[in-house]
Amino acid sequence: MTEAIRIEGLRKSFGDHEVLKGIDLAVDDHEVVCLIGASGSGKSTLLRCVDLLEPVDAGRIWVEGIEITAAGVDENAVRRRIGIVFQAFNLFPHMTVLRNVTLAQEKALDRTPAGARATALSLLDRFGLADKADDYPDRLSGGQQQRVAIVRSLAMDPDVMLLDEVTSALDPVLVAEVLDVIRGLATTGMTMVIATHEMGFARDVANRVAFLDDGRILEVGPPEEIFSEPREAATRRFLDRIIAAGRM
């Protein structure tokens, strides 16, 4: 197996607050890694750094064997190969669903309008959104909007998908439809790094789970190991709190 992502010694501060304190992580092709940990532990920042949405202070990141933190890298080209989906969907509100999905295909990948449209419609159809193509995002439910956001990223044929707490802004009844989409993606072999608070989902879908605490990865391992017999006391405390809160 080859490596999809390799992260070494990644550090990131906002002002004098250090959010990432030296992250090392490698993700294989077709692997699904879930990042768990309390809010503020650095999950989102880690994903944003991998997509170069935040400049990195120190450390190196490779995607598909190419260092993206090297000087002179075309960051637009890097971002085209990495899909990221955000907690708050971030669809473009002034465009129809279809246009949301075709815009970057045409402008960043130079696909023809007809080609982009065909790709968009087949993906929307696959995720049960075919009848929403001509609607504006504010006519859609949160779950539908998040599925559109996933489709928008997938349409770029990314090597890797990064999902940043994609169900945290959703009504509980809408969470399942989005998680089902992600499960479906995992079965197609999509490489994914998923920051999530849904522990049951992480246990199901992840090949490995990484526990972040205060800007460091405290432990990484198969879900059954992390959830059943964590090595670190901090992991155990975190999981106990999650169980007490009824989230697992």
Binding site: R48, D51, L53, N76, A77, R79, R80, I82, G83, I84, F86, A88, N90, L91, F92, P93, H94, L103, A104, K107, A108, L109, D138, R139, S141, A149, R152, S153, M156
Partner: protein, 295 residues
């Protein structure tokens, strides 16, 4: 109220959940719609009758009526002035089109990130500060008298040309600030999601930020345009034969100020519909936003 099932929208704690939204709103505004209309009409009629009576019964009213509200003078001056108003319309329409483009350029320059673009940002900032600080009539006078006086070959010397340039320069400074407020109001997450799809900074500005920003600032932008239309009268200062100068000439010939009233009527007739249109746009935008959040 009638149905206890009607619940308050989320995020509005403290409101009685049994009272439907519509009723609560109309009660705050004061009762039934038909009754309200009657009260409004009545109080308006009473108010303006009182004001009218006071003005008409004032000691100087006959003189004022003679010099400002002379029916025959109005009938003569109005078409004369209206025929010159076409010049004003040409000046402000041309300026508005130029302002739309030029102000956008200034606003985009001012919104460029990064240290490399500091000189452009500073230039744009100096420009807006300068032209918002100098009275419009001075800019018109300086350009209108000064530029032709340079005697440079190829430089037009028409008053109308320099009036358009002056109004464009001044109002671009205001409208650039309006655009910039719109650009700043677009949430950074929109930029992040556009950039994450591999769109360049320029493509993000063009396809994601500006379309949303411009839509948001249409009402304040139209307000600035109303100001520009009124300021087209300042060109009279250069001796350019437009509506205000025409009114001045008639006033001087006839020793009567009614031509000014006639011009005021023309301005009001074109600006008030625009002001109402702006209000309507704002109300529609608010309704749209409320409708969206209730989904």
């Amino acid at each position: 109220m009638s149905s206890p099932e009607v619940s308050a929208p989320q995020g509005q704690p403290g409101l009685d959940p049994r009272v439907p939204m519509g009723d609560r709103r109309s009660r705050i505004l004061g009762g039934g719609a038909a009754r309200n209309t009657w009260i409004a009409v009545l109080s308006t009629v009473v108010f303006f009758t009182v004001v009218g009576v006071l003005v008409v019964r004032s000691p100087g009213w006959p003189t004022v009526r003679f010099f400002f509200f002379d029916g025959a003078e109005f009938a003569y001056a109005f078409p004369e002035i209206l025929s010159k108003f076409g010049q004003n319309a040409f000046i402000f329409c041309t300026s508005e089109i130029l302002v739309l483009v030029f102000a956008l350029l200034i606003a985009v320059l001012r919104s460029l990130p990064g240290a490399v673009f500091a000189p452009l940002r500073i230039m744009a900032a100096v420009y807006t500060d300068f032209f918002r600080g100098v009275p419009t009539i001075l800019v018109i006078a300086l350009l209108g008298y000064g530029m032709p006086a340079l005697g440079l070959k190829g430089l037009p010397d028409s008053d109308r040309f320099w009036a358009i340039v002056a109004l464009t320069l001044v109002y671009s400074a205001y409208v650039a600030e309006v655009y910039r407020a719109g650009i700043d109001s677009i949430h950074p997450s929109q930029v992040a999601s556009s950039r994450s799809l591999g769109l360049t900074r320029l493509q993000t500005m063009r396809h994601v930020v500006l379309p949303q920003a411009v839509r948001r600032v249409i009402p304040p932008l139209l307000n600035d345009f109303i100001g520009l239309q009124k300021d087209s009268a300042l060109v009279a200062f250069l001796g350019f034969n437009e509506a205000l100068l025409r009114a001045q000439i008639i006033q001087a010939n006839d020793f009567n100020f009614t031509p000014y009233v006639a011009l005021a009527v023309i301005y009001i007739a074109i600006t008030i519909p625009q002001a109402r249109f702006v209000d309507w746009l704002i109300a529609r935008e608010r309704r749209r936003r409320e409708g969206a959040t209730e989904l």
